[in-house]
């Protein structure tokens, strides 16, 4: 009961603050729709286009993050495990990581068109570079003592990989996934700038053109909550998978 209250409190403060700004007179009230107006708009949209928007966006994020992470894990592993490789590849990784995905949109349109593939490519790009860094930083911090101990117990190279390296890499994989997920949601609106008809980013874009501020708020809040729930789900999985760790990041 107390726990629920504690979790709800900051949200209620946020909503109260929102009302406060609306009625304060400091800002033209037309520029800040009230929470209940946004809620009403949400109810309307749920009956029309919102479910499809959510589905499309979630699907894009899901595919982008999954494909990005699937590649980031082995690449990050190699970079983390072989310092010599890292030495040469690191600047390259950081070069691409520093490029904001939005800056690539014109190029992506040229090379991949304006279809579903183009949006997934952007999300893939964002997820891959976010994930690869987390993965290799984590792997390179694995203490060599565990490998040495296993060798003295008679482990072969393949046994060391399966029974020592993989378990130690799992927490880093999950962190890479979480970071990629966060970055992907952040990039979603940008990727849906590419002539998207559906998706939360498209919803926000269209509403912006018609100055429908309440719809913009609905879109933003939806993105926030979906990202939050995905993160919670991932953390629940992490807690089961790496319960041996001191704390789950």
């Amino acid at each position: 009961m107390r726990r629920v209250a504690l979790i709800l409190a900051p949200w209620l403060v946020l909503i109260a603050g929102w009302y406060g700004i609306h009625y304060s007179g400091l800002i033209n009230p037309a520029l800040v729709p009230t929470p209940h107006a946004v809620a009403q708009r949400f109810v309307e949209l749920v009956q029309t286009r919102l479910p499809l928007d959510i589905l499309m966006s979630t699907r894009r994020v899901f595919i982008g993050v999954l494909s990005g992470t699937v590649l980031a894990v082995p690449v990050g592993f190699v970079l983390g495990w072989y310092p010599n490789v890292r030495h040469f590849i690191d600047p390259l990784i950081n070069f691409f990581r520093a490029l904001p995905p939005i800056a690539l949109i014109p190029l992506v349109i040229v090379y991949f068109g304006v279809d579903e593939l183009a949006k997934i490519v952007i999300l893939f790009y964002a997820s891959f570079f976010a994930g690869v860094i987390v993965m290799y930083e984590g792997i390179s911090q694995i203490s060599p003592i565990y490998v040495r101990v296993s060798r003295t117990l008679g482990a072969t190279d393949s046994e060391i990989f399966r029974k020592v390296i993989v378990p130690l890499a799992v927490p880093h994989m999950l962190t890479a996934l979480r970071v990629a997920l966060g970055v992907a949601w952040a990039t979603l609106v940008a990727s849906e700038l590419i002539a998207a008809q559906q998706g939360l980013g498209a919803l926000i874009q269209n509403a912006g053109s018609f100055f429908q501020l309440d719809i913009i708020y609905v879109g933003i809040i939806c993105i926030g909550f979906i990202a939050l729930f995905m993160d919670l789900a991932l953390r629940a999985i992490a807690r089961r998978l790496v319960s041996w760790q001191e704390r789950i990041a």
């Binding site: 040495r148 296993s150 060798r151 117990l153 008679g154 072969t156 319960s243 041996w244």
Partner: protein, 270 residues
């Protein structure tokens, strides 16, 4: 009575590392033999190359010249015949206490049946006082318990040799004494050939058949000391005059080497 056979043999062993000012000699022309079921301690100033010597027996490194042999054969790499206890224990944090002990037994090198594994695990958990923590994660254990777990894990694969690198260094005085007695008990039950790297004179005299005192870098053998006290030993030994005399002798040698090392450092920094 005939002398037990030689198991580990250092024959004119030298080790050098590349350093800023040319090659740095860490171990210099060391020769000695460890016999079957002997407990040998290696003691000397810190950073003198004791761990280097253990690493050669463990198979983690090769001498630059000379040979280190095990039952007459040069050591090629690590193996389950030589259990190693590291200074930092190296207990696997992702496995429970029981899984840690069983780890070696699940490897192809020492494959055992599930029933046998179960039997070995519970035997060592009992011996090391870990039975109540079978399913606990290592992070929940105290330093002394982690130490015992590392020991149990090494023992489970039945090594003939035990190589220990300052295994009790991180423990408080009481735990340390308890661990030393536990080690003696376990060794009495299952004879093993032991090489212990330590900087504690007290520990070396209490546990060993022989103590090898090393010099400051480059490490040579300063003196090999026979410890005449019969086993089984117990804590009362610490209080006997003979123990005190021997301890004083060893301590004097070690202190001289520390002083020598300090002098070297000073002349280097000038």
């Amino acid at each position: 009575m005939t002398e037990p056979r030689v198991r580990i043999k250092f024959d004119q062993v030298s080790v050098q590392f590349p350093a800023q000012s040319g090659m740095m000699r860490v171990v210099d022309d060391v020769s000695y033999a460890v016999r079957d079921r002997e407990f040998v301690s290696v003691i000397g100033p810190s950073g003198c190359g004791k761990t280097t010597m253990m690493n050669m027996v463990a198979g983690f490194m090769q001498p630059s010249s000379g040979t280190v042999t095990l039952d007459g054969r040069p050591i090629k790499g690590p193996g389950p015949d030589r259990g190693v206890i590291f200074q930092e224990y190296g207990v696997f944090p992702w496995l429970t206490v029981k899984q840690n002990i069983a780890f070696g037994l699940t490897l192809r090198a020492n494959r055992t049946s599930a029933a046998e594994r179960e039997e070995i695990c519970s035997r060592y958990m009992q011996l090391m006082g870990l039975s109540d923590f079978a399913d606990a994660w290592p992070r929940m254990l105290s330093g002394g318990m982690r130490q015992r777990l590392a020991l149990a894990r090494a023992y489970a694969v039945k090594p003939q040799f035990l190589l220990m690198d300052e295994p009790f260094g991180a423990l408080d005085a009481q735990t340390r004494t308890a661990m030393q007695d536990l080690l003696l008990d376990v060794l009495a039950a299952e004879g093993k050939t032991v090489m212990l790297i330590t900087h504690s004179v007290e520990e070396a005299v209490y546990l060993s058949h022989r103590i090898i005192v090393m010099t400051a870098r480059p490490t040579r053998i300063r003196e090999i000391i026979d410890v005449p006290f019969p086993y089984p030993r117990d804590a009362g030994l610490h209080e006997t005059p003979a123990f005190g005399e021997l301890r004083a002798h060893v301590r004097q040698l070690v202190m001289q080497e520390y002083a020598q090392q300090a002098k070297q450092r000073q002349s280097q920094s000038n």
